[in-house]
Symmetry: C2
Subunit: 264 residues, 2 copies
DNA sequence: CCAATAGTGTCTGTGAGACAGTATGCT
DNA sequence: AGCATACTGTCTCACAGACACTATTGG
C-alpha cells in the first residue's frame, strides 16, 4: 500500500464508526454567468460519474454529516444546505448498482483493501438521503476523494450518465429547487456579491428553464426592495452600461421568512 | 408466552428481515367536520403516545413499507401517502429516547422476550423517515399494534406529549401540508364524497389556521371548475339550505398537475 | 313577519404581462 | 448619426379582498 493511500486506510478503519445502510448524497448547485451547474466526481480508471457523498458517523447527526462531506469537497464552511428527499426504493439495486459495487470493490482492492467486512459493507443495501446546496462556485476549490480523479462543475443540461440513481437524485433536487424558489436564498447563495440584473435574470431563467420578460423582471425584482444599487459596470461595448447591484442582506432575510411570493 | 402474543413472536422472528437503524413514522391526517385530526397510538400500561410506525423489510422499498404499516393501522389500501422528511439528528437520543427504550424493553420482556439481540436492536440509533397521509377518517378502522392499547384520532390542537421527537415530526408534517396545499389532493382525500362549501372552507381554515372570507372562498373554489353541484342539504335549521358538492375527479387531477395556484 | 345562513354581484386595489418610449455608451 | 442594450412608463386584464345585496329555509 502506498503512502498516498492513507485516506483509504482511514476509511477502512473508520467503517465501524459509520451507520450501516445509510448514506448521504449532495447535489451542489452553482451558477456560472450563463449556466446552472452541479458538482460531480469522475472516477479513476473506471468510466463513472457520481455525486459527492459519504456516510454518517454514529456520533453525528445527518445534517452535520452532510456539512462535513461538503466541506471536504468544496472547502466551504458556511454552506446553504438542505435535506430534500430520502431515496429508499429497491429499484436502486438493479444491474447498475451491481456494476457500481464491482467497480468500487475493484478500486479498493487495487489499493490493497482485501478485508471482507469492508467489501461487504459497501455492497449492502443503502438508503441514501439527498441534500442540496447552493454555493458561489467562484469561491469553491473542488477536491476529488480517493475514488475519483477529478471533482468538477458540470452544466445541468449536459450531465453525463451517473452511477446508480444519481441522475434521478439530481432531477429531484432540481424540482425541489424550482418549487421552493420563493423561499430559498438563491440569489445571495449563487451569485457573486456584485451582479447585474441580467445576471440575476439568467439565473432565474436557468432554474425555471424558460425565458422571462426583461423589463418586467427588473421592475418586479427592484420592487422587492432587497437590492442596493452600486456603480455602473462599463463593459466597453457600444451600449448603455448596466448598474451593478448587491443584496441588502437584512432585508433579503426578512423577505425570505414570509416567502417572496410572486410569479415569474 | 400466551397465544395472543403471536404478533410479538412474529416480530422477534422477523427482526433479521428488517433493515437495522431505519424506521418509518406516519402522520395520518383526517378531518372530522370541524377539526383536523391525527392518528395516534396509546401504549398499554405505560403513559405514552406515539405515531404509527414500523420498520423496513430488506426486500421492500421504503414506500411499500409505509403503505404496509399504514394498512395495518387503518385497513385502508389506496392511501394518499407521501414522504416528507427524514429525521436523523443525534438530539433524538436524549433522555426522552432512553426512557422510551426502557418502556419498549419492559413491554417486550413482559411478553416473554428475553432475547438480547432483539432488545439491543430496538435500542440502537434509528434514523426515521416521516410519511404523511390524507385519509377520510370515516372509512378507517383504527387498529392498535401489540405495543398499544388503542389507536385513535386526536385533534391537532390537542395533541398529548408524544415519545421521542414525534411532536416535532407532526409539526414538520403540518408545515409540509400547508406549503404543499396547492399541489395536494386534500379535498378528495380528507372529505367524504358529498360535502358543502362550508365543510371545505372549514378544512382549509383548519389547515391554514386562519379564518377565510366566506363569499370569496366559495367564488374562487367554484371557479376552479372541479366540483359537481348535487342536491341541497336540508338540515332542518331555519335558513337557506346549502348545496352538496362532489369532486369531478378527472378535472381535479388535471388541475393538481399544474398546481391550483391561488392564495387563500 | 323575522332570523340565520347560502349564494351572487359589485367595487377597488394590486400586480402580471405586453410593449412603447427614453437613456446611455461606444463606433 | 447609428446601433445596441439598459431603464422607465403605460396600458390591459385578472384576480384577491371587502362588502352589499338577494335567495331560501323555518320559526
Amino acid at each position: 500500500m502506498l503512502k498516498t493511500d492513507q485516506p483509504v486506510i482511514d476509511f477502512v478503519n473508520e467503517i465501524k464508526d459509520y451507520l450501516p445502510g445509510n448514506s448521504i448524497d449532495c447535489v451542489v448547485f452553482g451558477f456560472d454567468a450563463q449556466q446552472l451547474k452541479v458538482l460531480l466526481l469522475e472516477w479513476k480508471d473506471e468510466e463513472a460519474w457520481c455525486l459527492p457523498g459519504g456516510f454518517i458517523k454514529i456520533s453525528e447527526s445527518m445534517d452535520d454529516a452532510a456539512h462535513r462531506i461538503l466541506h471536504q469537497r468544496t472547502s466551504l464552511n458556511s454552506i446553504f444546505l438542505n435535506q430534500f428527499f430520502t431515496f429508499g426504493s429497491t429499484a436502486r439495486y438493479g444491474p447498475k448498482f451491481k456494476d457500481h459495487i464491482k467497480k468500487t470493490q475493484k478500486v479498493l482492492q487495487n489499493k490493497g483493501v482485501s478485508d471482507k467486512k469492508t467489501l461487504g459493507w459497501i455492497a449492502s443495501r443503502f438508503i441514501t438521503t439527498g441534500y442540496f446546496a447552493l454555493v458561489d462556485l467562484r469561491k469553491t476549490h473542488p477536491q476529488p476523494d480517493f475514488f475519483s480523479e477529478t471533482c468538477q462543475w458540470i452544466a445541468i443540461d449536459k450531465l453525463p450518465e451517473l452511477i446508480i440513481d444519481h441522475n434521478h437524485i439530481v432531477t429531484k433536487a432540481l424540482e425541489h429547487l424550482r418549487v421552493q424558489l420563493n423561499y430559498l436564498p438563491i440569489g445571495i447563495s449563487l451569485l457573486p456579491s456584485k451582479f447585474t440584473m441580467q445576471d440575476l435574470q439568467r439565473l432565474y431563467e436557468a432554474i425555471l428553464q424558460k425565458p422571462l420578460e426583461r423589463s418586467n423582471f427588473q421592475r418586479k425584482m427592484l420592487k422587492l426592495g432587497i437590492f442596493i444599487r452600486l456603480e455602473k459596470q462599463m463593459t466597453g461595448a457600444a451600449n448603455k452600461a448596466p448598474y451593478l447591484y448587491s443584496f441588502d442582506t437584512e432585508k433579503y432575510n426578512q423577505l425570505l421568512e414570509k416567502g417572496i411570493g410572486f410569479t415569474y
